[in-house]
């Protein structure tokens, strides 16, 4: 079992993490952060801790545990 943490306030809503997650468990929130961006959130289970999301994130939003 693996999991990620998301630093919502750093997220700029670029959706790159969404596009690379092999498990398709990331999606964009309806809500805005204080920068005015829709931030990323997990929308499903089954994270395998591949860290693709973290690695492609330009804003170091995501940390990964495994």
């Amino acid at each position: 079992m693996a999991r990620i943490t998301i630093d919502e306030e750093r997220c700029k809503g670029c959706e790159l993490c969404v596009s690379v997650c092999p498990k398709k468990i990331l999606g964009m929130s309806e809500r805005l952060n204080s920068q005015g961006y829709h931030f990323v959130e997990t929308i499903g289970d089954g994270c395998i801790g591949c860290a693709f999301c973290a690695r492609i994130c330009p804003d170091v939003v995501i940390e990964v545990y495994k």
Partner: protein, 180 residues
């Protein structure tokens, strides 16, 4: 009023520069002296932005407005930053979709426009700025709506001209909010 000194402010991408330009073009179309002056934050995209617009029957001195008699604020930080500078007797129109608390100020007319919601109603998320502008025109008579519609012809590139009716609708929606 001989001279209108206006600040339009908001996040980048909310179209505050455009409504400022429309005000300036509108003034020019009405034969007045006008200036438009932009100011950006350090961000590449996003961040805050504002512009100063002056519309006058006389030659214009400073194009940088420090004490506006009209403020259009499209988000909270902009309202906070500029509201204190508005002259007594001035007008503030703000986007209440993004501002939770209504400002309180003596001697200034304040108008809340839920721009995001109204834009969505009009079927285009990006048209909130025009709704706010419509309300502003209703309150200040800085220029006529017709002049703004004529300005749209000049400001929008030809390939966007099909959007003019939508913009008009948004303007008139805003106007209707204040003309009751």
């Amino acid at each position: 009023m001989v001279t209108h000194e206006i600040i339009c402010a908001g996040f980048g991408g909310q179209g505050v520069m455009l409504i400022g330009q429309l005000l300036a073009y509108g003034g020019m179309i009405e034969g007045k002296e006008v200036t438009w002056f932009p100011s950006y934050g350090p961000e590449m995209r996003g961040g805050t932005a504002n512009c100063s617009v002056v519309i006058s029957a006389q030659p214009i001195g400073s194009p940088v407005v420090a004490e506006p008699d009209g403020l259009i604020a499209m988000n909270g930080p902009s309202l906070v930053r500029f509201k204190g500078a508005v002259k007594p007797g001035g007008v503030i129109v703000y986007n209440s979709s993004l501002v939770a608390e209504a400002p309180e100020l003596q001697g200034v007319r304040i108008c809340a426009v839920p721009a995001n919601e109204l834009a969505r109603e009009l079927g285009n998320d990006k048209i909130g700025n025009m709704v706010v502008l419509g309300a502003f025109l209703g309150l200040t008579k800085a220029v006529t709506v017709a002049s703004i519609e004529a300005a749209l012809q000049q400001v929008l590139p030809a390939r966007r001209h099909h959007l003019i009716p939508l913009n008009s609708a948004a303007l008139r929606k805003g106007l209707s909010l204040v003309e009751g």
